[in-house]
């Protein structure tokens, strides 16, 4: 049976937390936390999910005048397998909702969602039977951007808000950095906890 590493314990409210010094984590993993956050927040690859007119502003955000590449997000991917953040740009119809959910499910963890514009965030003026009243009914949304459509600067501000969220949030469980499979087999864990 492999020796249990003290700082890597499964997370519940009473046990020490990975990388959280106040709860008994280690110094090394605190730095890893910061490194992971820096790496993630500076290479957010968006998924092109233009559904309507907001997509035009999204395109102009990546173009040379506003240049989202300055934030490490220039690589817009047409496949969910290579994307980190889904920018839902435009009104989400009820017919499109299952497609959106499927594409969200195909994105690898960790993943984030920016809901761009009034229609994606709340339905906007389209309070009718055809439009989903807020994309958060289908996928969890991290940042909402109001506007019809939001200007490129407003979208860049939202990307910055998302980066800020990634930097301030602690990596609280091992599974979030993908070490759990390597270091802690599930059944061994239950033995220790029992």
């Amino acid at each position: 049976m492999p020796q249990r590493i003290e700082t890597l314990v499964m997370h519940d409210s009473s046990t020490p937390v990975l990388g959280d010094m106040e709860k008994g984590g280690s110094v090394v993993l605190t730095s890893v936390d910061r490194l992971v956050a820096a790496a993630r927040s500076n290479s957010l690859w968006p998924l092109t999910f233009g559904l309507a007119c907001c997509a035009i502003e999204m395109m102009s955000t990546v173009a040379s005048r506003f240049d989202l590449a300055r934030f490490g997000s220039e690589a817009f991917r047409a496949t969910p397998r290579q994307a980190d953040v889904m920018i839902i740009a435009g009104r989400l119809s009820k017919k499109m909702a299952p497609v959106l959910r499927q594409i969200y499910d195909q994105m690898p963890e960790p993943k984030w969602v920016i809901s761009m514009g009034a229609c994606a965030s709340s339905g906007g003026v389209y309070n009718n039977y055809a439009i989903v009243q807020g994309a958060d009914q289908v996928v969890p949304v991290d940042v909402y951007v109001p506007g019809c459509p939001p200007s490129p600067d407003a979208l860049i501000f939202a990307v910055m808000k998302l980066q800020e969220k990634l930097r301030t949030r602690k990596v609280t469980s091992i599974s979030q950095i993908g070490l759990s499979e390597l270091l802690l087999p599930r059944e061994k864990d239950e033995e220790v906890l029992a």
Binding site: S121, G124, D142, Y144, P146, D153
Partner: protein, 151 residues
């Protein structure tokens, strides 16, 4: 080193980089957004502000015309009577509650056009993105201009 080499390889490479070199002389178009904010156009419409008169009274008289004009139905106004003891606005009534659902608003500016007293004005603050849906309900406290400083 033949004619074919210059024609097929060297010349296209040189002329290709020539385009790049000419581009280097052009003016930089990128707006370095968080540090430098571009000048907004004169009629840009973003975040609403509820205005006051110079004496501190609110301009809004709670008539709900803005709510009626709103195509997205994102404004809610609840009015009450002014009394001589408690006077908030210049008219007979004032808005007790004035809420805008900023995430449903499409910033069309119809509320500004409809307002008879010029109380609601769409200004140019576009940095409105946030994490929670609840935080987009802008209450009267958030929309109202601060009281003018008494000199």
């Amino acid at each position: 080193m033949s004619v074919e080499f210059f024609r097929d390889i060297a010349k296209p490479v040189v002329s290709g980089f020539g385009i790049t070199a000419r581009r280097l002389k052009h003016r930089k178009v990128t707006v370095m957004y968080p540090e430098v904010k571009r000048e907004q156009y004169p009629r840009t419409r973003w975040r609403h502000v509820l205005k006051r008169y110079d004496n501190g009274l609110e301009k809004c008289i709670g008539c709900s015309l803005c709510a009626g004009a709103c195509p997205a139905r994102c404004i809610y106004v609840e009015a009450a009577e002014n009394t001589d003891e408690e006077r908030y606005s210049a008219g007979e009534r004032y808005a007790v509650r004035y809420e805008i659902n900023m995430i449903r608003c499409i910033f069309c500016g119809y509320c500004q056009d409809a307002c008879p007293t010029g109380a609601i004005v769409l200004q140019k603050d576009f940095e409105l993105a946030d994490y929670k849906r609840e935080s987009f309900i802008y209450t009267k406290e958030r929309l109202l201009e601060p009281l003018p400083q008494v000199v």
